[in-house]
């Protein structure tokens, strides 16, 4: 069973940063066949935290790889309570965040969802279709339950908006590295370091860049500015293509090694 108090994602990321390291938060789609084994493999390969996706029928922030994995997971019967229930029975020793779309949370009930997260040992939520304008109801429930809410900041966000975003954010602040949806890219977008730098200027929260971080080289490059990275599509593609926890751990390990070497 998980401890009564979930491991804090923010504390783990701050600790990594204080020790001079860079943070690695892989993403995987919950509910894929064998995903619990993948989670353990990712945890043991050097992740500082793990983002578990709860698949939604209409993921507008996601590109083809995560769309496909969501459809596979839904076809395999994935549900929000099923995934949270499975997490409550796992003890993977790294802090967890759930990433999902707001309708699943709204349908579940904001307060009930936040309470279920805590019971499942999940410390943070990432809801990409809940910007500041709509964050009030969810954040009230999350704050009351002690759940961290990671807000997204985008290259299009004006400076004054970044200040409000980091004020509202906890866990870390998710810097969207490019204009676009999730997916692998051949090279690091110039916007990735720019948004990371802009955020570093206004917050002490860990600044992690996600969307378009596809290779260890890109991760190292963006971490010249950022505190860490979220790696989604590259990990999910490996999961879907190989179905092998060892292969997935090996991939995550290459990111870990590269970030450790700098």
């Amino acid at each position: 069973m998980s401890p009564t108090e979930p491991l804090s994602l923010q504390a783990a990321l701050e600790s990594r940063r204080e020790s001079g390291g860079k943070c690695l938060v892989p993403y995987l789609t919950g509910g894929l066949p064998g995903w619990e084994l993948m989670l353990s493999a990712v945890a043991s390969a050097g992740a500082d935290g793990i983002e578990v996706g709860i698949p939604f029928s209409d993921p507008v922030m996601d590109g083809p790889i995560i769309q496909e994995s969501s459809e596979l997971a839904l076809a395999a019967g994935a549900t929000p309570p099923g995934i949270l229930d499975a997490l409550s029975r796992l003890d993977c020793e790294v802090p967890l965040a759930v990433m999902t779309y707001v309708n699943l949370v709204y349908r579940f009930g904001y307060e009930r969802f936040a309470a279920s997260m805590v019971r499942a040992g999940v410390s943070a939520a990432i809801l990409p279709d809940v910007p500041l304008e709509e964050a009030g109801d969810w954040c009230a429930a999350a704050d009351a339950a002690g759940v961290q809410t990671v807000m997204l900041a985008a290259p299009t966000s004006p400076d004054e908006r970044l200040v409000s975003i980091v004020e509202r954010s906890s866990g870390f602040v998710y810097a969207v590295g490019l204009l676009g949806i999730t997916g692998e890219r051949d090279s690091l977008a110039a916007s990735a370091k720019v948004i990371a730098k802009r955020l570093k200027e206004v917050t002490d929260l860990p600044v992690l860049v996600g969307v378009g971080i596809s290779t260890p080289e890109q991760a190292v490059e963006v971490c010249e500015v950022a505190d860490g990275v979220v790696v989604g599509s590259a990990v999910v593609r490996r999961i879907v293509e190989t179905g092998s926890p060892e292969s997935v751990a090996e991939l995550v390990g290459t990111f870990r090694d590269a970030l450790d070497k700098g």
Binding site: D58, T79, E133, T156, R161
Partner: protein, 411 residues
């Protein structure tokens, strides 16, 4: 429109603007519905769009440019037709607001000309759009051709197959048509693809959303661009009903509902008058208000067909234009407040109505407004003796191929 009618319309428009279907409150709220549930990347663009729309809508130069296009290019005002043969058969006075006679064949052109002009004014060079039946896609492709803009239309793979004529029209007009291959491969998925496109192209692209759907300011802005339907119809009804009619207004106004843009347009002309019943007609297989519960998708909180966990259901309707599991947030609010009611009709009732109007009035309706017609046919006894106005939102040419498969052997 002659000056007298125009003045009356302006006067009425001011009355309406103050009541019922006014501007949303807060961040695009109609009651509890609406909002701006989108990725952060798009939020600044939506604020920019809201500001640009407010500015343009208050600018006589913009309004005049749009009015001129609507008149000289789209063919407004659209006529009001009294249907004597069918009215006699059904036992009430039936009027059709003839949006089917607009350029490109539906009401969609009103919104698209407005948005394309606005996009130009904002310095955007490219339009993306979603389309279901293809009418909004054709209208967007048309506006893009007229205004020399690049245009990409997302359309569900299923809809591409059943509306191939409109696909060809869009390509003929110079637009690119890209299939949406995820999910139900219909309108819902085309919206997803258009939003994903926009997340990556927002700096130079305007998302020309085709209904009173999506994040603020779209539900409000699109309704304002269609308000012309209701404003004209209010004036035309007053003339048609004659000076001895006590109010000069119909008893019932009926429109089909997918996202709800044609209904929002015509309702806006009558919502301020409580004696006018407003009826939205949904397809049985895509009845967000009839069968849905509140949910959040495509940037808005509204009624939504979904499963117990909140996964969005796939709609199933004979009409590609109404094949959508959600509905515009203002309709959700009008339903909750009781100002409008929402009814459902089956595909088979629609097929009957499609033929009925063709045979009795020589008007082949699109399958979408055939839903409104199907409801008044079913309700003919309760409507006896009344004045009934239907928004004939589009013409049936696009549906003839599909209906040949359904009816071919019977005719």
């Amino acid at each position: 429109m002659n000056n007298d009618l125009k003045n009356q319309a302006d006067e009425l428009a001011q009355v309406f603007a103050a009541d019922m279907v006014g501007a949303p409150t807060g961040v695009g709220r109609f009651g509890q519905f609406g909002g701006m549930f989108v990725p952060e990347t798009l939020v600044p663009a939506l604020h920019e769009l809201e500001a640009a729309f407010k500015d343009a809508w208050a600018d006589p130069v913009f309004r005049n440019e749009l009015d001129t296009l609507l008149a000289d290019y789209a063919g407004r005002p659209s006529p009001l037709t009294r249907c004597d043969r069918l009215g006699e058969q059904l036992g009430f006075q039936l009027y059709l607001k003839r949006e089917d006679l607009n350029h490109t064949g539906s009401h969609k052109i009103n919104n698209v000309l407005g948005q394309a002009l606005l996009a130009k004014r904002m310095g955007k060079t490219r339009l993306v759009a979603e389309t279901g039946a293809g009418q909004h896609g054709v209208a967007t492709a048309t506006a893009a051709a007229l205004m020399d803009m690049e245009c990409l239309v997302y359309m569900g793979e299923v809809d591409i197959a059943r509306q191939e004529l409109n696909v060809f029209r869009m390509r003929l007009l110079g637009a690119e048509v890209t299939p949406a291959v995820s999910g139900s491969r219909t309108l819902k998925d085309a919206v997803n693809e258009a939003m994903r496109d926009w997340v990556g192209t927002v700096e130079h692209t305007h998302y020309c959303l085709g209904s009173v759907l999506g994040p603020h300011p779209y539900p409000w802005m699109v309704r304002e661009f269609h308000r012309v339907i209701g404003t004209e119809a209010a004036v035309q009804c007053r003339v048609a009903l004659g000076s001895d009619h006590p109010t000069g207004r119909p008893d019932v106004v009926v429109a089909c509902i997918g996202g709800g843009s044609n209904a929002a347009g015509i309702f806006s002309g009558f919502a301020a008058f409580p004696e006018v019943a407003l009826v939205g007609v949904e397809p049985e297989g895509g009845a967000a208000i009839g069968h849905g519960i509140p949910g959040i998708v495509h940037g808005m909180k509204s009624y939504l067909m979904q499963d117990e966990f909140g996964q969005v259901s796939e709609a199933h309707s004979i009409s590609a234009g109404l094949d959508y599991p959600g509905v515009g947030p203002e309709h959700a609010h009008l339903a909750d407040s009781g100002r409008a009611r929402y009814e459902q009709v089956s595909d088979s009732e629609v097929i009957e109505a499609f033929q009925l109007l063709s045979r009795t009035e020589g008007i082949i309706p699109a399958l979408e407004p055939a839903h409104a017609l199907a409801w008044v046919v079913r309700e003919k006894e309760s409507l006896a003796g009344k004045n009934v106005l239907i928004n004939m939102s589009g013409r049936g040419d696009k549906d003839v191929g599909q209906m040949m498969e359904v009816l071919g052997d019977q005719l």
